[in-house]
């Protein structure tokens, strides 16, 4: 991994260094897998793609559930990593060197606050994409190879949201243009399309064509696709031999019912005189396998590059990289670390990590402002940075399941419904109709001498509970035949309603 070792000359060297051993093991595993994958995807025609899948399955996004169950849902690898690291953490706590070097940060200063916020904003692209050097290099090598040999090729990039795919592609594009200039080749024409912004999926061909034939007369009788196909199947003059780099972001929006568009798009690269390098970007790992089975038989299956969800170290490094440009220190290093750990355990989504940091910053801002308002003369704590407790507050705001609070703040009748639902689904039965649930509800009401609400009111309340994510209503023509199922854990309900004495008997 030379690429990773490279940027460690940056000020947070010590952070990486101190834990190099522990990370080393994980890293080497990563290297191995990625190498293996490369080998396979190079010979993709023979090796079934299903073998690749298990390696990546860790990075599939998962739903965040109630906090009490999060320990179970942490992926295995990161679980081990955390344990390993936290042990080491206790032995030699990291003391940031940069804290001494850099000037003090004053959160009361609007300018400085603004600078920090800007540095943490999603829209601000960092000048260098750290932690994605390997993937970038592979994509770039692919593009370079295609351009050198003047042959067409296709590449598919997949990965979870917020793992820097689009950002890296932008960098690769610039890199490729730079390289072409230096190598004396024709600068490739690039078409970057975000497929969500297309009004119709076939529009992508006219977009490609429009870029390719700028100035040339449009051929009215053929569709843009046919024109492109003709263009690439005939031998062309030397002047038109420019390569074309097509980057299709969010490619799965091109999936039509018959998969025609996606198929034709990839088929363009197989035409004899095709000059396009196609890079598709999407979330699904197996998009190419699922939707393009024909390509495999034609031996032109796209190369797959996977952007894995960020690990905690990567998130930490990216956050530090963003903050290193600032002339002051705004975050305590272990605050950043806990953010990185939590986010990587949940989804590895960089956007989320940035949001959490920002909200921690806002919590600090409110705190500082409050302290100014309260005691203007009082002693001001000298070092006000975002500390652990701010970060923990922000994290809990983000990841905490609000279910218990929601149930506790429900109106009483809705609580009775939730209670009766919890009772109804205690057995093996998974769903019931509204009428059945109503019967249970009436029973509880009767036993506790409460006037029950009517059936229409009842189904209204069920809809509200559905909106709040507590019940799940299926669609049905008749109100009473709608099937109800519980969407929260029964344990949550009992925990939430335990506090209220009224329900203690009902739930037994």
């Amino acid at each position: 991994m030379p690429a990773i070792a490279g940027p460690s000359s940056s000020p947070q060297k010590h952070v990486v260094g101190s834990r190099s051993e522990s990370i080393g093991g994980v890293r080497s595993a990563e290297v191995n897998t990625s190498r293996k994958r490369k080998l396979r995807s190079d010979s993709a025609a023979e090796v079934s793609a299903t073998v690749v899948l298990p390696v990546n399955s860790i990075s599939t996004p998962m739903k965040w559930k109630s906090p009490r169950r999060c320990a179970v849902s942490i992926p295995k690898t990161s679980d081990e990593e955390i344990k390993e690291d936290s042990n080491e953490k206790l032995e030699n706590p990291v003391i940031s060197v940069c804290l001494e070097v850099k000037s003090k940060w004053n959160p009361k200063d609007d300018e400085q606050m603004k600078a920090v916020k800007e540095a943490l904003h999603v829209s601000k692209a960092p000048s260098t994409v750290v932690c994605r050097e390997d993937e970038q290099r592979r994509v770039f090598e692919f593009v370079k190879g295609c351009m050198e040999q003047k042959k067409a090729g296709s590449l598919y990039i997949c990965g979870c949201p917020g793992t820097g795919k689009s950002l890296s592609m932008e960098k690769v594009r610039l890199q490729a243009e730079e390289w072409a200039k230096q190598a004396g080749l024709h600068c490739p024409e690039t078409v970057s399309v975000n497929c969500t912004s297309l009004t119709k999926s076939t529009d992508i061909f006219s977009k490609i064509l429009g870029n390719y034939e700028s100035g040339k007369k449009a051929n009215g009788s053929f569709s843009p696709l046919q024109q492109l196909q003709r263009l690439f199947s005939q031998k062309q003059q030397q002047s038109r031999s420019k390569m074309m780099l097509i980057i299709a972001d969010e490619m799965d929006y091109l999936i039509t019912r018959d998969r025609g568009v996606l198929h034709e798009l990839f088929m363009l690269t197989t035409l004899p005189f095709s000059r396009c390098i196609l890079i598709g970007v999407a979330n699904a790992i197996d998009l190419a396998d699922r939707f393009l089975p024909k390509l495999k038989s034609l031996n032109c299956k796209p190369l797959v590059v996977t952007f894995r969800a960020y690990s905690k170290d990567q998130i930490l490094r990216i956050l530090q990289e963003r903050l290193v440009a600032l002339p002051f220190v705004a975050f305590q290093s272990n605050a950043l670390e806990i953010c990185a750990r939590k986010v990587s355990a949940a989804s590895g989504d960089m956007r989320k990590a940035l949001c959490v940091c920002r909200s921690a910053l806002e919590i600090l801002e409110i705190e500082v402002r409050g302290s100014i308002d309260q005691e203007p003369k009082g002693p001001v704590p000298e070092c006000q940075v975002v500390k652990m407790d701010h970060m923990i507050a922000a994290l809990s705001k983000t990841f905490k399941s609000p279910i218990v609070d929601t149930i506790q703040s429900l109106p009483q009748h809705q609580q009775i419904i939730v209670c009766s639902a919890a009772k109804a689904f205690r057995g093996s039965k998974k769903d019931r109709t509204i009428a059945e649930l109503n019967k249970l509800y009436l029973e509880i009401c009767k036993s506790s001498m409460i006037t029950p609400a009517g059936i229409t009111e009842f189904s209204n309340m069920c809809t509200v509970l559905n909106d709040q994510g507590i019940l799940k209503l299926s669609h049905a023509r008749d109100d009473k035949l709608k099937r109800v199922s519980l969407r929260v854990d029964e344990a949550d309900i009992t925990f939430a309603l335990k506090e209220i004495r009224f329900f203690r008997n009902c739930l037994l």
Binding site: K117, S123, D349, R351, T398, T406, H413
Partner: protein, 803 residues
């Protein structure tokens, strides 16, 4: 836009023109008609447009240049006595309005230097008489008419200069009314048909462009050309203003005379909007603003005609003073709104004429409210006798004092009015924390110079004040923009329910930002350019944009691309877009694709259901000052609602209904009632009405035979325990019931019909009637409900035995 009127022939012999000529002359007669060259006016248009851009500067400049101008005014325009007779026989009625909510706005008026002065001056005045139609200088002005209004700054030059009533031909520089004139579609110049080379005999169809515009050369100028610009030219170059008359009234002045005033609603030309003139703007296009001013009749020059696109395309033969207005322009939010119908309908809805009982109204307190903020520069229009400056009231704060209304409301009626859902509350209790959070979020995003794009998702059950909180935050922000502490921004509000399809949101957003309606595909392209690539729509769209989408969950399409695009824009650099989404569903982000929820960020705000304390506070703040409810009654209503849904709308509805019930009760037994308050019993009745299911009321009111039929069904159900029964069996039971209790058995045919009728009401589920005896029947509601409905029946007390 493509279907705009082509070449408009200007036939000046048309009869509708002549009266204008006449009054025009008579208007000009008192003033000296010396042809002094016009003063250079490069400064004025700038000043005027700058009002929208930076209010602060304007306010600062105000006192400096005012006195000078006023003195000029006074010298030049000593009060001229006009012969103004009023068309009084039909319409000299005082103008009142429906009670319009007096908004929170009163506190927002920015500090204007001359405010106190105006108020004191105004206090001296006594009488105001409102008219619907006024004859002034032999011309009738009616409410809803469009007029040219003098700009104050160049008032003197206007006075001395003769405005050419009839446009000159651009070639022969004569105005001959007998020859047909044709208008160039590019420069709007008029040409006599026979002056053209080669001369035309007819007005050609389609666009016609004059010879000068073809070669892009301005037509030759003659000496008098500059001095004799038509009003249309002046208006379009910003030297005149167009306005719509909203109110007309006569006011007595201290020295005995009386002055006619109008309330004008301004039109602006495209150059004055935030996006400037764009390619799609027609030459004669104007925008209606929400900016009002009170001006004197003296500054009104004459009529012009502002038409909606439909009428405009027909009005190819109406002369030079025809303008097109398709959009309303919000001068505060800098957004455009398409006018549904320009013709009168929109503003008259809140005005109501009240039979001629009172003609003169003492309206001191109204004046105060009107001149509460005199921030607008347009308040400085035209001739103001004695240099008095009248302020401009805000939109939606037309205030008519209570005592103007002929009918005095009693406490209960007042309570009913304030409890209406349509009535905006003066303050929003119990939501201050959420509002603070929203304010902090918006300010945090737009206060920075660079404006980082962000999203916020607001969720909560219905009736918990989500939308109203956001709107009131925006209103507060608007006030701060006017005060200058917040930089201006665009605000676009969209309700997902009002969109024909989710994709339409693109064209709605684009229309609001640019005032140009395009299809959604094109709009998406433009918006992508604007937000993703950072291009600008207009000339100066540097402002941050706040997008409020109500009912966000309705934008979820099958592949969710609409939401993706909208939530992706804030993550782009230079987008300067802040998105606020409101929906009921708590877990909408989790239901969406992960890539969308990743872009949505983590900013959430939950509006929980109100508890009974909060509901009680909401109702009692609404009813502040009105003594109509017993305290326990309010508490009872709020407790009932809080137990079921916590919906504030419902609590208000119950209280309003209870007030109606109490009103009815008090009217019926006027003597016996001890207090005039709404008591618990009324609330109880209202709650019964609201919460009781409609089917019970239907069952209570069905015919006698149907009741017996239903009883038989319930009885059958009890006997067999099977929900489904056949008509055969029910009929047998009915006949036995009838026999035992001495009722006449109606016969099978009628019974069958009754069964079908009950099936129609969906009280009973039944098969179609042709099966006769084998028809299967089933109660649609639980038998308890039927029993409850039929138990205390006066006609058949024996029914209860079988239930």
């Amino acid at each position: 836009m493509a279907a705009t009127p082509s070449s408009k022939a200007k036939t000046f012999q048309s009869p509708n023109k002549t009266p204008t000529n006449m009054y025009r002359k008579s208007y000009l007669s008192p003033s000296s008609t010396s042809l002094t060259p016009q003063t250079p006016e490069t400064l004025t248009p700038l000043r005027r447009s700058s009002r929208h851009v930076s209010r602060k500067i304007d306010l600062g400049n105000d006192p400096i240049d005012l006195p000078g101008r006023e003195s000029i005014q006074e010298i030049n325009l000593t009060p001229r006595k006009r012969t103004t007779d009023v068309v009084a026989e039909t319409l000299t009625t005082p103008k009142t309005k429906k009670k319009k909510k007096i908004d929170v706005e009163a506190s927002f008026s920015p500090i204007s230097p001359n405010r106190s002065e105006t108020i004191t001056k105004k206090k001296k005045k006594k009488k105001r008489v409102y008219y619907n139609k006024v004859e002034f200088d032999e011309t009738e002005f009616e409410i809803g008419d469009h007029v040219y209004v003098k700009r104050r700054e160049d008032a003197n030059s206007d006075e001395e200069e003769e405005d050419p009533e009839i446009e000159d031909c651009q070639i022969c520089f004569k105005s001959d009314t007998n020859i047909i004139m044709i208008e160039c579609d590019d420069c709007l110049g008029g040409f006599h048909l026979n002056c053209l080379k080669p001369p035309l005999t007819d007005v050609p169809k389609g666009d016609w462009i004059c010879q000068f515009c073809v070669v892009h050369k301005p037509p030759p100028l003659q000496g008098k050309k500059l001095a004799k610009r038509t009003m249309r030219e002046k208006l379009l170059s910003g030297d005149l203003w167009a306005a719509r008359i909203e109110k007309l009234w006569k006011q007595e002045v201290v020295d005995g005379g009386c002055v006619y005033w109008i309330r004008a609603r301004w039109y602006i030309i495209p150059e004055e909007t935030v996006s400037g003139r764009q390619r799609h703007n027609l030459k004669r296009e104007l925008y209606l603003t929400n900016d009002f001013a009170d001006i004197e009749m003296e500054c009104v020059l004459r009529h012009c005609f502002v038409k909606c696109p439909m009428e405009f395309s027909k009005a190819s033969n109406d002369g030079d003073d025809v303008f097109l207005c398709e959009y309303e322009y919000d001068v505060h939010c800098h957004s455009f709104k398409r006018l549904a119908q320009l013709v009168d309908g929109d503003s008259d809805s809140d005005q109501e004429w009240n039979g001629g009982k009172e003609k003169e109204i003492d309206s001191d307190d109204e004046e105060e409210s009107v001149c509460a903020d005199s921030k607008s520069k347009r308040g400085l229009t035209g001739v103001n006798t004695k240099g008095r400056i009248f302020g401009v009231e805000k939109v939606g704060t037309k205030r008519i004092p209570e005592h103007v209304r002929c009918y005095k409301k009693n406490e209960l009626e007042k309570a009913k009015a304030t409890l209406l859902l349509a009535t905006r509350p003066k303050s929003l209790p119990c939501r201050s924390k959420e509002m603070e959070e929203i304010t902090a979020f918006i300010k945090g995003s737009i206060l920075d110079d660079q404006c980082l794009g962000r999203c916020m998702y607001i969720h909560g059950v219905p009736g918990t004040g989500k939308t109203i909180s956001v709107l009131s935050v925006m209103k507060n922000l608007k006030a701060e923009v006017e005060a200058g502490s917040v930089s201006p921004y665009c605000f676009v509000e969209i309700n997902g329910l009002k969109l024909a399809s989710p994709e339409n949101i693109y064209s709605v957003i684009y229309e609001a930002l640019s005032g140009h309606h395009v299809g959604w595909k094109k709009a998406l392209l433009f918006l992508n350019e604007r937000f993703a690539e950072g291009k600008r729509i207009g000339k100066e769209n540097e402002k941050p944009c706040i997008l409020l989408i109500d009912e966000l969950d309705l934008l979820v399409t099958r592949n969710q691309s609409v939401l993706y695009n909208i939530l992706d824009w804030p993550t782009k650099p230079n987008s300067r877009l802040v998105v606020l989404g409101i929906a009921n569903t708590m877990d909408l982000p989790e239901k969406l694709l992960p890539r969308i929820s990743s872009r949505m960020g983590i900013q959430r705000l939950c509006f929980g259901p109100y508890n009974h304390m909060q509901l009680q506070e909401i109702i009692s703040t609404r009813l502040k000052g009105i003594n109509a409810f017993e305290k326990t009654a309010i508490e009872f209503a709020s407790r009932k609602v809080a137990a079921v849904s916590g919906d504030a709308r419902r609590a208000l509805e119950i209280c309003r209904r209870a007030a109606e019930v109490a009103d009815y009760r008090l009217k019926n037994n006027n003597k016996t009632a001890k207090s005039q308050l709404v008591i618990m019993a009324d609330v109880e009745v209202a709650i019964q009405e609201m919460f009781q299911a409609p089917h019970i009321q239907v069952m209570k009111s069905v015919s006698k035979l149907s009741k017996i039929f239903l009883t038989a069904m319930v009885h059958e159900l009890y006997k067999t325990g099977i929900a489904e029964t056949s008509f055969d069996r029910v009929a047998t039971t009915v006949s036995s019931l009838c026999l035992t209790h001495g009722e006449a058995f109606p016969g099978w045919d009628i019974l069958l019909k009754i069964g079908c009728d009950l099936g129609e009401c969906k009280i009973v589920l039944c098969e179609p009637g042709e099966k006769h005896r084998l028809q299967k029947l089933q109660l649609n509601f639980p038998s308890d409900d039927v029993a409850f409905a039929l138990k205390d029946n006066k006609d058949f007390p024996w029914l209860a035995n079988y239930l």
